[in-house]
Structure formats: C-alpha cells, structure tokens
Amino acid sequence: MITRVPLIALVAVAATALSASAFAQDTIKIGELNSYKSQPAFLEPYKHGIELAVDEINKSGGVLGKKLEVISRDDGGNPGDAVRVAEELVTREGVNILAGTFLSNVGLAVTEYAGKNKVFFLAAEPLTDKITWQNGNKYTYRLRSSTYMQVAMLMPDIVAAKKKRWALVYPNFEYGQSAVEAFKKLLKEKQPDAEIVTEQAPPLGKVDAGAVAQAIDDAKPDAIFNVLFGPDLAKFVREGNTRGTFQNRFVASLLSGEPEYIDPLRDEAPVGWLVTGYPWYAIATPEHKAFLDAYQARFHDYPRLGSVVGYVTIKSIAAGITKAGSTDTDKLIVAFENLKVDSPFGPFVYRASDHQATMGAYVGKTALKDGKPVMVEFKYVDGAAVLPPDDEVKKLRPAGG
C-alpha cells in the first residue's frame, strides 16, 4: 500500500492537466511569468499595470476581435523553475506568446528556451545587455532599456561634471557587473583621464553598508557611481548620510529615481544625485496623464515604474498581434520589427536589428519636496539616442536573426 502515493500523484497531474486544457477559441492567451514572490516591490505594481492594459484593450473590443487573456505564473525566482513554468504555459496552457521576467539570469534562461522551442518571448524587465546582444535570438524582444542604455543616458551629465576620481559600488551579480562594465567602457571613451579609485561589489541584498560607505569615503573619490537598489540602497544611503560619504561628492546612480526604490527612503532620500527614474508626479504629456488617471482611478495608488513596464508589455503585444493580423509566431516576429508602440512615455519602436525597444527613461536630479523624494530638472531620454547603430549591433549579436 505504501507506494501508492506516487501513482496518485501522477494521476493527479494527469487529471489537472486534462481539466485545464479546454480553452475558449475567442481569446488570445499570453503566458506571463515573473518573480512575484522574490521581487514583490517591483512586481506588484507591474501586475497592476498588466491588469489595466488588459482591461483597456478588452473594453475597446480586444485584439483582432478576440479578448486578451493573460495567464500569470510565479517563476520561482530561479532559471530552473522558470523554464519549467514557461514549458507549462506553452504545453499545458497552449500559449505561443511568453512575456515577463525580472532577474537577468531568469530572463536569459527563458530567452534561451524561447529560441530553442521557437516561442515568441517579450522580455519585460531584465536589463542585461546579453538578452538582445550576445545571447539574443530571433524569437526574443526586450522592452526595458538595457543596463548599457541606462548608463549611456547618464553619461553626458557625468562627463559634464568633469570628475577625475571615481568610486564604484554595485551588487555583485549580472546587473551590477554589466552596468559597471558599460560605465567603465563609456567613461574611458568619453573621459580618458578619469580613474577608478575603489570598487565595492557587495553581495546582492547583503551589503555591509557601514563598511562599504566608509571604504568609499576613505578612498577620497570626487564622484561615486552607484548601482545598488532595494534594501541595499536604503542601508547604503543611511550609513553614507551619517558618515558624510556623499558630502561634496557627485553621485550618479542607476534606477534610484524609480519610486519603488527611492520612496521607501522618505525624507532621508539623497539630494542632488544624478539618477534614472520615473517622476510620475511631474510628467505633463497627455499620454502619461491619461495613463496616470486611469491607473489611480482603478487602484487608488500612484504608479511605480513597474506599473508602466507591465502596462506597456501588454500594449506592445497587442500592437504586435494587430500588426501581424494573427498570433502566428513567425508573423509576430516580423510584425515586431520596427513596431511602433504608444506608451505613457510617448511612442517608441522595437528595433529590427537587435530586437531592443527604444522606450527611454527619465534622467534628472533627486530632491526633497515636502519631505518626500522627487526628481527635478529631469528630461526624457529616448532610447534610440543612446543605442549603438545597427552595424555595430550586428557584431554584438552572433546568433542574431
């Protein structure tokens, strides 16, 4: 009797598989997977963004006359589970469009899976350059500006600051490493006389903030380039403020203007940092206003950058399907080439050369207003302006297509 359990388990699997495979013909299904449990701060607003987009699309008649249905899954925050979840979406739910992922390595694993299994994949958030360049493939597009683009957006102001001695601090994983790599490369090109005086690479989520802030201060840099985010950033800022690490120093910081990372700092948020981010309260364009109103009406909360990413992910796919006139994978791939999408940040396109979207980001300075962190003197930098030209991209994309 003892070992009947695995059989029962198998039967249970078979049964659930059977019950779920019936699906309606008048919907278009999109399989969406993300690290909801391991990165909730970014991904809860992201999910709201998705819901908003789906509602808007379905209320206005859907896509190709069919309703859009997004099937969301937790990818477990690791590539192994993510690939299984992707397979589940494809084989059990019968989707042929995948979207989502947050962590760079999860995104890369799903990119790899999509390429191998000929499934369309729109990487929403993972920032690593490899998704569109070294490891890029025909089936994968990416929405968010890559680390290279984010760094490049900050570069003009960095060069203008004319600082010689730089300290770098970044989380020691793909995102941090590739951001620093891009920074070093661009700094060398644009300002050959600058030097790196210290480089701190604490483990992600485990920064020893006091020691790191102190070590940076001891190195006496003129400027600091920061890539920390989340709890690491909060700890680093608090320790740095107490120790005077940021006093009279120019700080350039990636993503730190995004509400999900800077808002928790409240009145302790740094002032005068050069950041990329999302000043939702001050973007006056009509397309953003419409998005903001709809979002606030529905969720009684302000949008984070994640909300925009989720929203635009779905809008992109809808636009792609409409242009292709079908959900056929090959047609969809072709339709995405130079696909123009209207977003709350304005229109952008998916480049044919490297499948990277040109949706940009806001670059500005941090400040405090009524005890709340804000971005000031910001400007929108179009992704197209910072991406390398097509012929250069060709070289970066060995397996392209």
Partner: protein, 627 residues
C-alpha cells in the same frame, strides 16, 4: 588604505558583530536545549524589524522607538512561545530533524503573512532618537548608533552569561544543553523549560531585528539572509555557547570589514577585488574552523544524542505488494510518452519529479542509513549540472559526454568535501556540508570567466535522439530508476549494513572491525555522484544552469523531500520528492499566496504524519494488521 582606516573599520565591525550576535545567541540557545534546527529564526528576526518599524513610525519620538524595541522583543518572544506550544511540542518524539520541516513551513507562512500585512515595499523605520549623529574617531565619523550597538552586544552577552551561570533556569539550560536526558532525570518540567527557552530565543531574535530598524529597512528578503548568517555564527562559536557566538560574530564581522576595506588589491600582479569575497567569507571561516576545531571555537563535544523517536524497523525485502506497485510505476513511466501529444506538460513535470526523486533518494542514502545529515547536498547536484554545462560550453561536447562528466565532477567534489565532513557528526557535519555547498555556489557565482557568473551557462540542450521530449523523459526515467535501484541494492548489501552499523553505534561498529569513517566517506561519495547525475540531467532538461539552481534553497528542498516522505523508510524519499514537486508546481499555479499555502500543507502533513508520509502509512498499516 591606511592603518587608521583599517583600525576604524575594525571598530565599526563590532557594531555589525552585535547585530549578528543577537540572532545567533537565540538560535544557539534553542538548538542547545531543544535540538531543533529552527529555520524560522530568521523569520522571527524579520517580524521584529517590521513590528518595530511599524511601532516607531506610528508613535514618533523616543518612546515610540525605544519603547517599540522593548515591546517588539516581548511580542516576538510571546510569538515564539506560541509556536512552541501549538506546533513544536506535538512533534518532539518524531525522528531526528523532523522539526526542521515544521520550521521550514513557518518560514513560508510568515513571509507571506508579512507580505499580506505590510505589502511588498520595504519599510524604512526612523533613525534612533538621540542617536542620529556621529562622533569623531580616527578622523572619521562613527555613527553614535554604532557606538550604542558596540556596547549593547557585550552587555546582553554579560546578562545572558550571568543568567545562565547564576539562576536555576540557567543551570537547567546548561544541563539540558549538555545532556538532554539528564533534565528528565532531574524531575524538571521539560515542557515548561522548552517553552521558555524557545520564547527567550525568539525574544533575542526580535530584539536583534528591532535594533536593526535604525540601520536598515524591514524587507521580505531578510529572513533567509539572516538565518544563514546566524547558523554560521552559531556553528563557528560552538553550539550552545553564548560567548562563542559573540566571539564568532566578531570574527566574521571583522573578516568582512577587512575584505571591504582592502577593496581591490594586487596579488602577484593580478588585481583582485576583495569586496567580492564578502559573499563567501563567512563560509570560508566556518569551513576552516570546523576542520581545525570540529566543535566550534568554544563548543564542547555533544553527548551522543539518543533520538526520542523509535529506532527504525529492520530492512525487509520488498513484499509482493510493494513489488507489484513498483512494477506498476515502471509500466506507467514507460507508457507516459503516449501522453506526449495530448498532455505534453505531464512529461515536463514528470522529468522534474523524476529528477527530484533521484536527488532526494541520493540524499536519503547518506542521511537515513548513513546518519549524515547533509545540509549542502545541492553542491553535488550543482557540480553535476556544471560538470555537464562546462563540458558543453568549453568543449562543445554532446549530451552523452556531459552526462558522464556530471557524476565524475560530483564524485570528485564529494570525495574531497566528504573526507572532511565524515570526521564530524550531527549538526556540525550538517553545517560543514552547508559551508562546502556555499563555497561551490560562490565559485559558480564569482568565477564568471569559467562559469558565466550569475547568468550561468546557457545553451545546454540534449542531443538527438533525446532532443524530443518523450525520449528525454524515457532517458530520465531510466537513469532515475537505475539510480534508485542501485542505491537500494547497496543498502541491502554488506556496504549498506556497514553504513547503518556506523550510524547505530560508531563504537560498536569499530569494535567489529568496520572502518566507519571510510564506509561513510565512500557512502557520501556515492550519494554525491548520484546527485551529480540528477544535476547533469537537470541542466539538459532546462537548457541552462545558473547559481540559483544550486543555492541553499535547493539543499533545503532536498531535506524537506526526505523528511516529508519519512527518513526511516526506503520509499520515503521517492514519495516525499514526488509529493513535494507536484505540490509545489500545483500550488505555485493556484494562488497568489502560494508560499503560505505550501507551508500550510506541509504543516498539516507534519502534524498528520510525524514519521513522514510513508512512515505514517506504514505505522497505520501495522496498527491495522496487529491490533
């Protein structure tokens, strides 16, 4: 870097040490007395940060903050007492380590509960009123709050030390730490002692969390980070030794501070960034300490712990019914590819389930019959996966070569690490295996040129004819079956008996000429190699391998699967792995709060089947057969 900056970092490091000490001291006390490996200790700490931050934000000012710290500690202590009374007390008589399952379930539940209560965004509490500034030390600014922490750590150490040395409660705690059975003999109300120790340990975790509010935000990610740090500190210091815990906390904090303050240095002309070492520094320290001092810095050899549970039944050959079921499973597996067209996902999930079965069975091999509780079995899974992946990446090898390389690399790793591990026993062995696993993990993460760093290795796909899913499924099924049967065969052979003899009584096994260390070493290596096969197959099944796949979470999963099925039976790991893998897959799909649901299901199973699922069913059958 100057001498002054080093010195300053050293002083600063003492503040970090105090923080580590609070959590570790509670964990050490709890383990010392109750022998429970409380994985939920980090969750109690996390709750402490959230509760204290909430109170301090609601009631501003000094009273809100400092009163909040004290109130938080008390609340978390109370919560700990409730956990002990409601949950853990029911399963003290379960086989060793089983309580770990319950605390694992609590980790899942508490994390989702915190998400539900406080939402996903980090919660930054206020700075400590009165201690916002900094003082000038060595020409640098030392935050006054750090000065406070530097003082409060040793102060709490002193208080605990006196309480343990001078009070009746303290004497009982020390007696129980040395020999749990003695406490029963002393006529002490054991239940009350355990409850109060659990409450005290939880209080310390809550206090540790509350005091960090002034330094860092409350975040849902802290529970697992803190628990791994705390374990390292406890083990380095010596289980049950509070002073040892402080000493270890200081050493680890100082080593990290040193790595950070050195920054990038040039060794023999090669630039090396020491700050990256903080990822693994604590585990390196732990491995070195355990190799040199097997019971930690100030720990004592533990009395042999006689399990409160009944010893396992003698091994009997499979009865006809079991054989029939086994044959049925084999036939079912062979027929499963027929579903490839109509139910392709059954194959996908089936491959994952089979790999977990093989992985869990290999852990059970050393954990059950060998009595070696490896907390780092993911290392060998990972070595197998990377063995296959590296061969594919660097030599463009095809799958057959990859699948040969997988167990070989895992075997070599297990031979190396096992040689050290079998010299220890009990929880020290568990922690040394964990340290080795973390070292493997950090090599995979750090040595980017070789391993692809945090991205891992991509493009590891099966070669023909196994590039068709049903063929790969059959291959996986065949190798899993082979592995499981091979391990089973070994257990019925003299080698397996020798391994069990060494576990039952090392002294007596040696007295009849069995070289227990050697037997256990070879057993460890075999288990590693089999785990390597599972890892190799995993890499090809997923097309990629990256450090997350082999982190501490996977080691814990393996433990959970073995314990869930029942450590005292041979079919336990098979059932445990199947149930856990299917459950996780199903639950992840069903609900937003899937972790809490998974935790609740595990808790229910723990309470229903305190000997694991198979163990519970077997007992039930015995009761029916012999009323």
């Amino acid at each position: 870097m100057t001498v002054q900056s080093l010195l300053f970092q050293a002083i600063d490091g003492l503040a970090a040490a105090s923080g580590l000490f609070f959590v570790a001291a509670g964990l050490s006390l709890i383990f010392g007395v109750t022998r429970i490996v409380n994985i939920a200790h980090g969750s109690l700490y996390m709750l402490g940060t959230y509760v204290a931050a909430t109170i301090a934000l609601r009631f501003e000012g000094a009273l809100g903050f400092w009163g909040g710290v004290i109130l938080t500690a008390a609340l978390i202590g109370l919560f700990g007492a409730v956990i002990e009374i409601v949950l853990l007390r029911r399963i003290y008589r379960a086989p060793e380590l089983f309580q770990l399952l319950a605390t694992f379930a609590l980790v899942l539940i508490i994390n989702d509960a915190a998400l539900w209560i406080w939402g996903p965004e980090d919660l930054l509490g206020p700075r400590a009123p009165g201690l916002r500034g900094a003082i000038e030390v060595l020409g640098r600014r030392l935050p006054t709050y750090n000065v406070f922490l530097i003082v409060i750590g040793p102060l709490v150490l002193l208080i605990l030390h006196l309480a343990l040395a001078k009070t009746r409660f303290g004497r009982l705690v020390r007696a129980a730490t040395q020999d749990r059975e003695m406490v029963g003999a002393l006529g002490v109300n054991q239940g009350l002692l355990f409850t109060s120790v659990f409450a005290l340990g939880s209080l310390l975790a809550g206090l540790g969390g509350a005091l960090q509010v002034a330094r860092e935000p409350a975040s849902l990610l802290t529970d697992l980070i803190v628990i791994s740090d705390a374990f390292v500190v406890v083990v380095v210091g010596g289980m049950g030794s509070i002073t040892g815990a402080y000493l270890a906390a200081v050493i680890i904090a100082e080593v990290k501070a040193l790595c950070i303050s050195i920054g990038t240095a040039s060794i023999a002309g090669v630039a090396f960034n020491f700050s990256k070492l903080t990822l693994v520094a604590e585990f390196l320290v732990m491995a070195v300490v355990l190799i040199v001092r097997p019971h930690g810095l100030l720990g004592r050899r533990q009395t042999v712990m006689r399990s409160l549970a009944e010893p396992e039944e003698p091994l009997r050959p499979a009865p006809a019914a079991l054989k029939a079921v086994g044959a049925g499973v084999v036939v079912a597996l062979a027929l499963t590819p027929l579903l490839a067209r109509s139910q392709p996902y059954v194959l996908v999930l089936g491959i994952d389930v089979l790999l977990m079965v093989l992985f869990a069975t290999s852990l059970h091999f050393i954990m059950g019959p060998g009595g070696m509780h490896s907390f780092g079995h993911a290392a060998y899974f990972g070595l197998g996966a990377y063995g296959a992946g590296l061969l594919v990446k660097w030599f463009a090898a095809t799958m057959p070569f990859g699948l040969v390389a997988a167990p070989i690399l895992a075997l070599l790793g297990a031979l190396l690490f096992g040689w050290f591990a079998v010299r220890l026993s009990g929880v020290y062995l568990a922690m040394l295996t964990l340290a080795f696993a973390q070292i493997v993990w950090s090599i995979a993460t750090q040595w980017g040129e070789l391993t692809g760093g945090s991205n891992g290795i991509l493009g590891i796909w099966p070669s023909a004819p196994f590039d068709i899913r049903s063929a790969f499924f059959l291959l996986t099924a065949a190798l899993t079956l082979l592995g499981v049967l091979l391990l089973r065969r070994l257990l019925f052979a003299p080698f397996g008996y020798a391994m069990r003899a060494g576990r039952d009584s090392q002294l007596r096994a040696e007295a009849i000429g069995i070289d227990v260390r050697r037997v256990h070493w070879i057993g460890f290596a075999i288990a590693g190699a089999v785990a390597g096969v599972a890892g190799g197959l995993f890499a090809f099944a997923k097309g990629s391998i990256s450090p997350e796949t082999i982190d501490v979470g996977r080691s814990i999963d393996a433990l959970v699967m073995v314990l869930l099925g029942g450590i005292q039976t041979l079919t336990g790991p098979i059932v445990g792995a199947s149930v856990f893998a299917v459950l996780q897959d199903t639950v992840m799909r069903q609900t937003e709060y899937w972790r809490a649901l998974l935790g609740a299901i595990i808790l229910a199973l723990v309470l229903l089947f305190p000997a694991g699922i198979v163990g519970g069913l077997a007992r039930l059958r015995l009761r029916l057969v012999r009323p």
